[in-house]
């Protein structure tokens, strides 16, 4: 329950950050990716801000034996660069450029009650389910 409450607070703060940053505006995202056209580089600072803060806190937090509300860490440790990683990131990048939404901003934008984010999120979930069906047969991600 405590983990759930923590996740709720994190989700809330994250959404506010997304809104403040400009990530919930698809045309800004596409402007950021439009390097060869009318490039709007401002969104690079979202990553810069997030990484600077978390780079500093990550080391401090991991000095603890365990998280405050859990018995162990659940941080990925895999190191291999696999074809699945590269192909998946490529497909994601193409979809991001096409729609201007990545998963967090899309879900947050459901609160706007506009049609586009709702259609996007439903399609995204369909894509996740589709992957799972294919992965069951092919075991790609292992």
């Amino acid at each position: 329950m405590k983990n759930g409450l923590a996740a709720l607070v994190v989700g809330f703060v994250f959404a506010i950050g997304l809104g403040v940053s400009g990530m919930t505006q698809p045309e800004k995202v596409i402007g950021f990716l439009d390097i060869f056209g009318s490039w709007d580089p401002s969104l690079i600072f979202v990553m810069v801000g997030g990484i600077v803060v978390h780079f500093a806190t990550y080391k401090l937090i991991r000095k603890r034996g365990s998280p405050l509300l859990s018995t162990k860490w659940h941080v990925p440790t895999k190191k291999e660069i696999t074809p699945a990683l590269v192909i998946g990131a490529t497909l994601f990048g193409v979809g991001w450029g096409l729609g201007g939404y990545c998963p967090g901003p899309a879900v947050t934008s459901l609160a706007s009650f506009d049609a586009a984010p709702a259609i996007f999120v439903l399609s995204m979930i369909a894509g996740m389910i589709l992957f799972r069906q294919i992965d069951k047969k092919l075991n790609i991600q292992k």
Binding site: V46, R62, G93, A126
Partner: protein, 141 residues
């Protein structure tokens, strides 16, 4: 223009605080595609925090809508089929590639995960090339 850079940086700092809280409290990476994927494929005892995270995102969204609805302004006239294809690619690609902008781009790079650095370079490059091609074809903007 300067104002937009400052908002972007401030928003990024808030996101950095959020993912730091998630690590400190729950010991987890805030990878939104992974959290959603886990929420729709329920595993015992591992669903409620994911659903509550999404509820938190939506409450944050509703707060933004109440205080500053312009953050959801979209000048895009994207056609429905484009949005559908974009969503399918993002859903499929993020699970195949084990992460999205949050999990790889912020959390992974912050802990200098080689997989996340590669994934982030690849998805930004793919996005840049895709936007250039779509604009040539007259598909977006």
């Amino acid at each position: 223009m300067q104002h937009e850079w400052i908002s972007a940086l401030l928003g990024g700092v808030i996101i950095g605080i959020a993912v730091s809280l998630m690590l400190f409290l729950n010991g987890r990476v805030t990878g939104i595609s992974g959290i959603i994927n886990g929420a729709i494929a329920p595993a015992k005892g591992d669903t409620s925090w994911r659903v509550l995270f999404v509820v938190g995102l939506l409450l944050g969204g509703l707060t933004l809508k109440a205080l500053s609805p312009a953050v959801f302004s979209s000048g895009l006239k994207t056609e429905t089929w484009t949005t559908v294809v974009a969503g399918l690619l993002v859903g499929f690609g993020t699970i195949l590639g084990s992460g999205c902008t949050s999990g790889h781009g912020v959390c992974g790079i912050s802990r200098m995960s080689p997989r996340s650095v590669v994934a982030t370079v690849v998805f930004i490059a793919a996005g840049v090339i895709a936007v250039a091609i779509f604009k040539k074809l007259g598909l977006s903007l």
